[in-house]
Structures are given as structure tokens and as C-alpha cells.
Subunit: 260 residues, 2 copies
């Protein structure tokens, strides 16, 4: 039932207050997006940060100042159609809210960035295990020792998500995710976690640990959390993001944003 | 000799005034770029235009306001290292100059966008004819009936370049250019020119006509001239671009910017 809601139906439920849960597994096959909202004065530099770091921050849509209707979901309202938002003031989390109409103004620029839900469906369809889905956990995410290319006041370490699989599955997963360049593309690393500064796979910086079987290796993809760290890094008066797992669900189908 | 100049050597010749010719075929194997310079006030919207129209306007590098050294060519100076520039005032071409130091200021933002020279080398390496090179002409370019997605004051029709080849070569060329997503990627059309609003292949809007043999079809790629039309469309007080064929030659190798 949840799985078969259309994006429009889901957004209507959210807007009317009937849906406040995470969007994981809902409206299956449609592209979900990370949200970052910030003032127009810094919009150029944040857009530049995303362009310079397109693997962790692939741009699905950018709304011009004061605009609330994404091109990837005509009729939607970015101020009301996510189940939960996070509000940051001067780099500090101030709280979570269910509606940001009172915080939004003519200078607010909204960025929608790709997330990994899209390629997870493609991996499953190819028979490749997605352990976090099997174990009903949030994907394991880690802060690496690699720095993103900064832009203006924005900087961040590269954050990665990890999925364990057999080596031959890692090759196939690399092929498959290459097509999904707007949801992080191919892996950025596989094997030894220490090579990218990860000390302990069992202690992710975000999300939950998952089981890695003896014949498996960890495979790492750039992760959208990077964009949130970057947005908050500038310590702007106000930054709004989605709350973790509470994404914007667009009308784009996963297959519509593949490269080939 | 020209072909084997390094990008650094070529830029030194240009900067010292010893080279004012087009850059076609020079420093073979290195990425050449379209240049657009405009004021910081409109930099967000122009960057957004490029993001929204990434096939004709693939972003190789964007320099922050007042910066003259591209990341894709350390030590270079974007104000002096192109052989010829075009200067537009309020949308009108005012002339061509060999140096823009006196027009550049702390608010100038420079955009470097991919051009098709990179994938032409890859086509040649695969034995696919590149007629404009064979006939020593400028590639044929046409204004289509397709509109780019506008952003702020920037809008433009999609401009395409055309290369004639046999149908099976068109398939192979589609595969090859898919890898080059930062130099326009795969073709946007092949076959009947009228489907994209081109009335007469023998009368290109830019560049020269080339021979189309009886067993060949025209194959169309998005073209960087689109970005120049867009930059000029906003009728800003000052816009600077490269002069046609007089590109910025970077230190990036063609193969370094392929997707896979």
C-alpha cells in the first residue's frame, strides 16, 4: 500500500498532516531528494560547491529565489511537502518542524539533490544484496579523510555510504550505478576502509551498522549527507534541510535520470 | 610541432603575444574550453542555466569572483591566456581583444565549459570520420527549434553541431561520446534535420557546410555556442567570451574527464 502510493498522493498526505513518517520504501520507483534551503546571497557559492562535488551532491533541481514549486514535481510545494524539516541557525541545529512556510521568504533558494534510494532499487533488481534493506536498518554512513573542494564559505569532508557485497557483485554494482550519475554514480572506493580514513566499520558516523559476511567487501558510495555538512559549515543565519530519511518525493522516475 | 606543444607552453606563447591563432588541433589530447565571463550579480543564474542545460553547457570549472587562475590549469591566467576574446556590452558585440585585464575586476566570474574537440579525438581513434577535420573546415552548427530551460535572465535556443557518418558509425559514436559527458555527451538527434527545426544542412548558422555522402546520416550533438547565446541574451553591461575557435587550453587530459 505505502509502496504503491503515487508521489502526488504521498505529497497530499504529507501536506495535510496525515503523513509524518520517513519516506523510505514509499512511492517505489520515483526519485527522492535531499533538500537544502539557504539565502540567495550564498546561493551561487552553494551551487558552485555542488557542481565541484557532483558525486556527493548531484543536482536534481534548483529553485530560483522565492520559488516553492520544483520543476521535477509540478504542483508540489517545497515548503510543506516534506514530512519533517531541520532548522539550523548559525550552524547550530535549532529543531525539527513539519512546515517551513513561516521561515521561507523571497530570498530563499531551494536545492534538491539526488539520494541513493534510486540505485538501491536497481541493485535489488539485479539480484545484488542491499544489506541495510535486508536488515531493515538505515544505511551505514562514514566521514572519510577526503575533503570536498570548497566554494566560498562552504566546505565539508566527503561522507560515504557503505554496502557490503561479494567482489563480483561489486563489479556489477559499479556498472549499474555508473548509469545513475544523478544519485552518486559509481563507487568511490571498495575494500580496505582505512584507505579512506574509516577506522571501524561497526561504528558508522551516521545510520546503523550492518552485517559484513566473511566473503564480502565493503563498497563505498559518495553520500548526500555531505551536502548537509557543507550547508551547515558556513554558519549562515538560517539553513533548512530535510530531516534524515524524510525526503522530498518527486515525479521523476528512477530510470528517467540515468545517463544511458 | 603545434600538435605537440604542451598546454603550459601554448599558454606561455599566448600570454607573451606570440600566438594569436585558433587553438584547433593544438596541444592534442588536452581539454579545451569555452569561456564566459560575467558580473557576480548574475553568476548564480548563469551557473543555474548551465546546470539546467548540461548537455550544451557542461561545466569544467567556475572561478570565484575576481579569481583568474583556473583549477584545471594551475598557474594559468584566464585574463591573458586565450589568444582572442570577444567583448559584449548590453548584448551587442563591441569588438575583439587579445587581453582582458583592464575589463576584469573583483566581481568578474569566469565559466569554463566543455567543447567537442575532446570527443572528436576519440571518434578519430575509433576510425569514425570527422568530416570537418577531413575537409579542414569549422564544424557545421545550427540553431534548432528546441529551447533550453531558462534561468533568471538567461535563455537560448539549443544550438547543435553536426557530423555526417554511416548509421553503424552513428551507433558507435553514440557509445563513445556517452563517456564524454563533460563535452556534450551522446548525440541529441540523428537523421531528419527538420525534426529539430533545421531547414537546410548546407546553410549552417555558424561554421562551414561539410559534405554528406549518400550513405551517411547527419548526427547532432549539443553545442557550446548555446552558452554564448545565453550569456549575451541577458543584455548585461559586460560579457566576455572567447572568440570562436580561440579556446582556453587546460591541463586536463581528454581521458581524465570521461565518466567511465
Amino acid at each position: 500500500m505505502r509502496k504503491h502510493l503515487s508521489p502526488f498522493q504521498l505529497r497530499e498526505l504529507i501536506r495535510s498532516g496525515e503523513w509524518r513518517a520517513p519516506t523510505t520504501g514509499v512511492a517505489s520507483g520515483y526519485v527522492q531528494a535531499n533538500l537544502v534551503m539557504l539565502p540567495r546571497e550564498e546561493a551561487f557559492h552553494f551551487l558552485l560547491f555542488c557542481v565541484r562535488n557532483s558525486r556527493p551532491c548531484p543536482i536534481l533541481d534548483v529553485l530560483e529565489p522565492g520559488r516553492a514549486e520544483p520543476r521535477i514535481a509540478p504542483g508540489a510545494d517545497i515548503r510543506t511537502d516534506l514530512p519533517r524539516y531541520r532548522v539550523f541557525e548559525k550552524g547550530e541545529l535549532r529543531g525539527e518542524v513539519e512546515d517551513v512556510r513561516d521561515l521561507f521568504n523571497e530570498g530563499t533558494v531551494s536545492f534538491l539533490l539526488g539520494c541513493s534510494f534510486s540505485f538501491e532499487n536497481a541493485l535489488l533488481a539485479a539480484g545484488i544484496p542491499v544489506r541495510n534493506i535486508e536488515e531493515e536498518k538505515n544505511v551505514s554512513m562514514y566521514i572519510t579523510n577526503r575533503s570536498c573542494v570548497p566554494a566560498g564559505p562552504f566546505s565539508a569532508p566527503l561522507v560515504v555510504s557503505m554496502r557490503p557485497m561479494k567482489p563480483e557483485e561489486a563489479v556489477r554494482a559499479s556498472q549499474i550505478t555508473t548509469r545513475f550519475h544523478l544519485t552518486h554514480g559509481a563507487p568511490i572506493h571498495l575494500g580496505d576502509p582505512e584507505q579512506i580514513g574509516i577506522k571501524d566499520l561497526d561504528r558508522p558516523d551516521f545510520g546503523d551498522p550492518v552485517t559484513v559476511k566473511p566473503d564480502e567487501i565493503p563498497v563505498f558510495w559518495a553520500c548526500g549527507v555531505t551536502s548537509q555538512l557543507a550547508a551547515v559549515s558556513a554558519q549562515l543565519p538560517l539553513v533548512i534541510t530535510h530531516a534524515p530519511g524524510h525526503m522530498f518525493v518527486s515525479d521523476l522516475k528512477d530510470e528517467e535520470m540515468t545517463l544511458f
